[in-house]
C-alpha cells in the first residue's frame, strides 16, 4: 500500500534543439491513475518524462509532487520514483541477478527468484545481460518494477521489444501497482485499450 501521492504539472514549456515542446501543458494525476502520454514521433513524450524526473530542466512551468514544489530541486520526487528511459539502465557486463541486486539490494533472494521465474529469465540468471536478446534485456530492466517499492513510475515505451506474454505480464503489473495506490505515467505507441485510466495528448 502506498500513501497518497499526486503529481501536478502546470504551464510546462520545454526547449529542445531550439524548438518548443509541450507549450504550456498542464495536467494533474494522483494515486491509482495510469496515465498514457500520447503523441507522434518527436512530439516530446520522452522529453516530458525526462523533465519530470529531473534529467532535463524545463524552460518554464511548475512541477508539484505530493504537495511539494519540486520544480527547482527534484530530490523529493526522486526518492520515490522509478524511471525507465529508452535505454534501460542495465549494465551489460553484469549478470541478470547482479543487475537486480544492484537496483534492489533489499529484495530477498526468494523474491528475486520469484520475479525472474515469472519473467522467464530464471534460466539466464547468471548470463551477462549483453548476451541476452533485446526482449530479454528489456525484461531485466523491467523486473525492478516488481521489486522496487516506489510510488511513481515513469516508463518510456516499456512495451518495446516485449513479446505477447511479456506485454501481458507488464500490463498486469502496472494495473496491480495502480490498484495499491501507485501512480504510473507511460508512453507507448501500441494500442492497449484496457490499460490506462487517462490519456494526456501532446500536440506537435
Amino acid at each position: 500500500m502506498h500513501s497518497f501521492a499526486s503529481l501536478t504539472v502546470s504551464d510546462l514549456w520545454i526547449e529542445r534543439a531550439e524548438r518548443d515542446l509541450c507549450k504550456g501543458l498542464s495536467f494533474s494525476v494522483q494515486s491509482g491513475d495510469v496515465v498514457r502520454i500520447l503523441g507522434e514521433n518527436g512530439a516530446g513524450k520522452s522529453s516530458l518524462l525526462k523533465v519530470i524526473v529531473g534529467i532535463l530542466s524545463p524552460l518554464q512551468g511548475q512541477i508539484v509532487y505530493s504537495g511539494e514544489d519540486v520544480t527547482v530541486d527534484r530530490r523529493f520526487l526522486q526518492q520515490d520514483v522509478i524511471y525507465l528511459g529508452h535505454s534501460s539502465g542495465i549494465k551489460p557486463q553484469l549478470t541478470v541477478i547482479e543487475n537486480l541486486r544492484w537496483y534492489c539490494p533489499d529484495a530477498s533472494p526468494s523474491a528475486l527468484h520469484e520475479v525472474l521465474e515469472s519473467l522467464e529469465l530464471i534460466d539466464h540468471i547468471d548470463v551477462p545481460v549483453k548476451k541476452l536478446s533485446a526482449g530479454q534485456a528489456r525484461r531485466v530492466a523491467l523486473s525492478r518494477l516488481w521489486l522496487g517499492k516506489k510510488t511513481l513510475w515513469l516508463l518510456d515505451e516499456p512495451f518495446a521489444s516485449l513479446d505477447v506474454r511479456g506485454v501481458e505480464l507488464l500490463e498486469a503489473c502496472i494495473r496491480q501497482h495502480a490498484s495499491v495506490g501507485g501512480l504510473v505515467l507511460l508512453t507507448t505507441h501500441q494500442d492497449l485499450p484496457s490499460l490506462s485510466t487517462r490519456d494526456v495528448a501532446l500536440l506537435s
Binding site: K50, V53, G54, I55, L56, R74, R75, Q78, Q79, D80, V81, Y83, G85, H86, S87, S88, G89, I90, K91, P92, Q93, L94, E98, N99, R101, W102, Y103, C104, P105, D106, P128
Partner: protein
C-alpha cells in the same frame, strides 16, 4: 539502490573486467619499456629519467582509465539512473572514483620495484617514487573525472579529456619528479610530498561536486 549496493556493483563490474585491470598494468609496463628501446638504454640516461618516465606513463594510464569511467554508464543508461536515484550524486562519484583508484594504482605499486630495477633506479629513490605515487595519484583521478564527466556525451572523447586535463597534471608531475630527484640527491623531500598531499585533498573535496554538476548537465 543504496550506497552499499552501488559500491558492490562497482566492484563487481571491476571484477568482471579484471582482465582490463591487468591490461592497464601491461599497457603501463609497455609504455615504460618504450623509452629504453626508443630512446636510449644506458643507465646514464635511464637513472635520472626513470621517475619522469614512470610518472608520464602513470598519467597516461590514469587518463585512459578515467576516460572510460562514465562512458559506459552513460551509454547503457545507468548514469541517468544514478542522477535520478535520489542518493547524493557527489558521494556516489566519490565512491566510484575510489574504487577505480584502488583497481588501477594498487597493482601499479606492486610492480613498481620491478620497473625500478629495469630503469636502474636506486632503492632510496624507488621508495620516494612509490610514496609520491601513493600520495599524488588520487589528485590525478579526482581531476581526471571532472574532464571525463564533461565529455561523457561525446563519442570520441578520450583525446578531449586528455587535452582538458593534462595541463592540470603538470604540477603533480613536477612535484613528484622533484621529490624523487631530491631523494636521489639525498635531500629531504617531505615538502614536495606535503604539496602533493594538499593537492590530493583539495581535489578530493572539490572534485565530486564539480563532477556532479558535469554529470547532471551531461545526461539529457
Amino acid at each position: 539502490m543504496t550506497y552499499f549496493s552501488f559500491v558492490r556493483a562497482e566492484f563487481l563490474v571491476l571484477w568482471r573486467r579484471k582482465q582490463d585491470v591487468l591490461n592497464a598494468l601491461l599497457f603501463f609496463v609497455i609504455v615504460v619499456v618504450l623509452f629504453p628501446i626508443g630512446i636510449d638504454s644506458s643507465s646514464e640516461f635511464l637513472t635520472p629519467a626513470a621517475s619522469g618516465i614512470i610518472w608520464c606513463a602513470t598519467v597516461l594510464a590514469v587518463l585512459m582509465a578515467v576516460d572510460s569511467l562514465f562512458k559506459e554508464d552513460y551509454r547503457d543508461g545507468s548514469l541517468e539512473q544514478l542522477v535520478v536515484c535520489g542518493l547524493s550524486l557527489p558521494l556516489l562519484i566519490l565512491l566510484k572514483v575510489i574504487a577505480q583508484w584502488l583497481a588501477v594504482i594498487l597493482p601499479l605499486l606492486v610492480i613498481m620495484p620491478l620497473l625500478g630495477e629495469m630503469l636502474y633506479l636506486s632503492s632510496a629513490s624507488l621508495w620516494a617514487l612509490m610514496v609520491t605515487l601513493l600520495v599524488g595519484s588520487p589528485s590525478l583521478f579526482f581531476m581526471g573525472v571532472i574532464g571525463a564527466a564533461l565529455t561523457v556525451s561525446i563519442k570520441q572523447g578520450a583525446i578531449l579529456v586528455m587535452l582538458l586535463i593534462l595541463p592540470f597534471y603538470l604540477p603533480v608531475i613536477i612535484f613528484s619528479t622533484l621529490a624523487v630527484k631530491a631523494a636521489q640527491a639525498g635531500l629531504p623531500y617531505s615538502g614536495f610530498l606535503a604539496m602533493l598531499l594538499a593537492m590530493s585533498l583539495l581535489s578530493l573535496v572539490l572534485s565530486p561536486f564539480m563532477t556532479a554538476i558535469a554529470v547532471k548537465a551531461s545526461v539529457n
